[in-house]
Symmetry: D2
Subunit: 292 residues, 4 copies
């Protein structure tokens, strides 16, 4: 493993995409000193976006959480969440009736649009499901697993409706040594049981990267050379993450250079083995995104 300095690496790119958990924050909150990184990004005129497999809150609520911790640079429009993709899907493809969900009420609230109301699985009446036109798996919190997962399985046996998984993560860390099961793992269990094909949003899938990429100003138009003065292409974007199977695989596949940081899921002593065993190869490895 060869460690690079984050500032030295990032200096060569015009845009930085950051994963959130394990990169900017951990179970204790935002990394101490992280504001230096964003000060540097702004002083050097670099654009940045936060790409997060998170459907537990809206981008506005996510940004507020950074703000409360003193990180003012991450405004709502800088955040691209898998929940936003779920919301776009519902808006385009399920435009009337009720969407049942597993998650907290506040996570569901964000999905409501004109003509679409949301209903927690706990309040679904299995004898009266004709109005339910989609199911969204949002979060591992907000419901009783014993009763509501069984109810979910039975709903899907009665209604052949699209099922949207708004966060593909299998686990997330809750302390230095412990993890919790995330909705992505629960979704796989239910998908296996009912034998259907769910619709997944979140890294490593290209759609989250595309959402962020489309927000960039001055993306090089089709037909023009990327080198054309002032334009931005994929070669100008750097993806930074802590997880090989989501951040790095997804970034690589989208055509971006990638940085693996060691402040989250991947620990220094495991890096070499994991890269060798998965075949997922980051362009760079950095201790963290902190800039001293």
């Amino acid at each position: 493993m060869q460690l690079d300095n984050f500032r030295t690496v990032a200096a060569n790119y015009k845009v930085i995409f950051f994963d959130a958990f394990g990169v900017l924050k951990n179970y204790e909150g935002v990394l101490p000193g992280i504001e230096n990184t964003f000060n540097w990004l702004q002083s050097t005129g670099k654009e940045f976006y936060v790409l997060t497999n998170d459907a537990s809150r809206s981008p506005t609520e996510l940004a507020e959480s950074y703000y409360r911790q003193g990180l003012y640079a991450i405004t709502p429009e800088r955040i691209i969440s898998s929940g936003m993709l779920a919301r776009e899907y519902l808006d385009l493809k399920v435009n009337h009736g009720t969407v049942a969900y597993l998650g907290t009420d506040s996570s569901a609230h964000y999905l409501e649009t004109t003509g679409l109301k949301t209903l927690p699985i706990s309040k679904v009446d299995l004898a009266d499901v004709a109005d339910i036109n989609a199911l969204v798996l949002l979060d591992d919190e907000g419901y009783d697993w014993n009763t509501d997962l069984n109810k979910t399985v039975n709903l899907l046996r009665k209604r052949n409706i699209p099922v949207i998984v708004a966060n593909t993560d299998e686990t997330y860390p809750v302390s230095k040594t412990r993890i919790a099961i995330a909705i992505g793992a629960v979704a796989e269990m239910i998908e296996t049981i009912v034998g259907k094909q769910f619709i997944r949003f979140g890294k490593p899938d290209a759609q989250l990267f595309m959402f962020a990429y489309e927000r960039l100003d001055n993306v090089v138009p089709r037909g023009l050379e990327e080198q054309s003065a002032g334009y931005i292409g994929k070669r100008d974007v750097l993806m930074v993450g802590d997880t090989l199977r989501t951040d790095i695989l997804g970034g690589n596949k989208f055509g971006l250079d990638t940085v693996l940081v060691l402040t989250g899921n991947t620990q220094a002593q495991d890096v070499d083995v994991q890269i060798r065993s998965t075949g997922i190869i980051p362009t760079y490895i950095c201790e963290s995104v902190l800039i001293s």
Copy 2:
């Protein structure tokens, strides 16, 4: 689909292996009239065993349940359960310390042997797990999924111990139209998360069939022809079940002729499609094991 009469089919065999749920009983209790089948078996001198993916109770408790419903023929020694295989494994391979478990207290009690004590996951202290030498997944009931499944994942990150899945079923029916998630599906989720290989007991695995086969009297000894007068071989045994992927696949693989009945998981209108799509082919199909 060609339907055969169960009595006509069974008349050609000396031994009958029955699955329990969906064959002898359903969510409402034992099938009305099932005692006629067992009277006929006994009057014709046929041996029988019940092979069940069930680790929620001991064979003695399972037999008592049949007895209370008026089915006296099914005595404890006629029942071969996946729980018995789990118990044998612990007896042979984990002979000291503590076995943590997911399930009801009564399911765990059956596993206790000299030198081995059991502890529900809810009572495990993750800071003090050095004495835990195995984990057994017994049942979907008896614990809080939200907290105890997370605790299970963290236990397996701290201790590299064998994990025994004592029931491989993914679901079980709880009413005419509803099903519940069984411990087998929960086990797959946890196995995926921790990335380890669990030890599974239950159909279609050969071990349950072997346990029953070893109990038969007069099994043909090695070296002798099966046709030798009075001996029993695999050609003399018929396996009866309601599920292609467990009962029929397992019976076929063990070398037995098989009967699919339509009183459980497999419904008449789906039989042909399921046999064609899975490639699991029962020797016979019967409406039920009932004999009028």
Copy 3:
């Protein structure tokens, strides 16, 4: 199953995305009469693109094949192939050295760029692989499976390099009743054996849809309402395909309305069962894209 008329459905959209095999052509060539459909599209001013999981030839060669069969509307820039995504990946991420490949020489030729040369697996010397920086799985033809698949496995044990699967299809039809194994299935076998994570391009992945979508003129800019006069949004695009798991799942997930046609992988008598069992639901079902 309710059948709709393709012209009636398509009339409501400004842009049509077509799958190729099973929609525009089959094992015998382009569907007789298909030129009427394209005449109608052009007379009504609709845009169209062909989205194909095909890396066996370049878009130019694919277009020539349509041209030779009298279908002049499908010009190279109307074709978006998974091979183009593989090419972009190599261009952005693997810019020097040698790319080993499984496929025909002509499929590989398309991948060559400045600084990158290609080498068939049959010519790889396993004792001298230091210069090989990627492996691309292009096609099921052009090599000896017995020797070259084994060689591929051994290359991947010596070199930890990205592996690109340029066609995710598992099979393709070669006559009315027979199919052949496609490179996607071979890729899964090798991926399982070496335990690494390959990079897949092709439907249902969003990237192929994105490539086509980016080519549209007048896509609605960020911030503007889609309804704004003259702009095109995802609601204006219809995806047409013959396969639920690639065309329909991918189109749905990208946010497009979808048409399943019955001229390819999905046969009329199986439609209802397949939709129910997979949970992949097309917006419409049409006999074919032919217009009388």
Copy 4:
């Protein structure tokens, strides 16, 4: 990793089960000096069996191969192969017609019984398959992969017949640094393509262990205590293998103590990582079975 001496470990057991490849022999032939181990076993009155995932030859031919290399102790009745299980299955369950196969002619010859003839896939006429009642996947050699694997897929689309996989290994070593794809991996690819459930014989499945266990003299009868003088129980049997996922997992699950040796698939520097990551834990680890 704590290394034990094989003789010291084995001294505590009455019966030894050996895997063949990676334990008794490798790509260069039987391990030099291995005859000492068998001399010691015989001088101390220990029983032994060779349990091998091999369907390429009959036990007689396998034994001849040991004999030719000067290892006389391994007689045909000491060899339990997965091919024997396939043969028993065909004998019990498919007793007439034709069995198609992938493998060498000599591997198929062993399967022929009264009333059953074998036919290589290369000679199958897809227009005339009504007489084919089973398919057996025996070996990775003896046929052309390009044509015969495609033919196999098409056969399984025309005939809903049992498919027997007579060797579950995914790969096997052909030299110090190279491996080859085994029929088990090919079987998985075809099973995925046709979507059916194949019948697999071989470790870690219990059936191979059961076949060997049934051959032991003086197995403790049901009802008697294992400790009864002179009887043999599972506690008296030691399984020795080089592969965690087959030999050790299977032996553990069957209730046997297990030894991992480092002369085959598992190398000394990887042992600890592999045991930790798979959760498959051998009772002992030994350098080899060689006795000096």
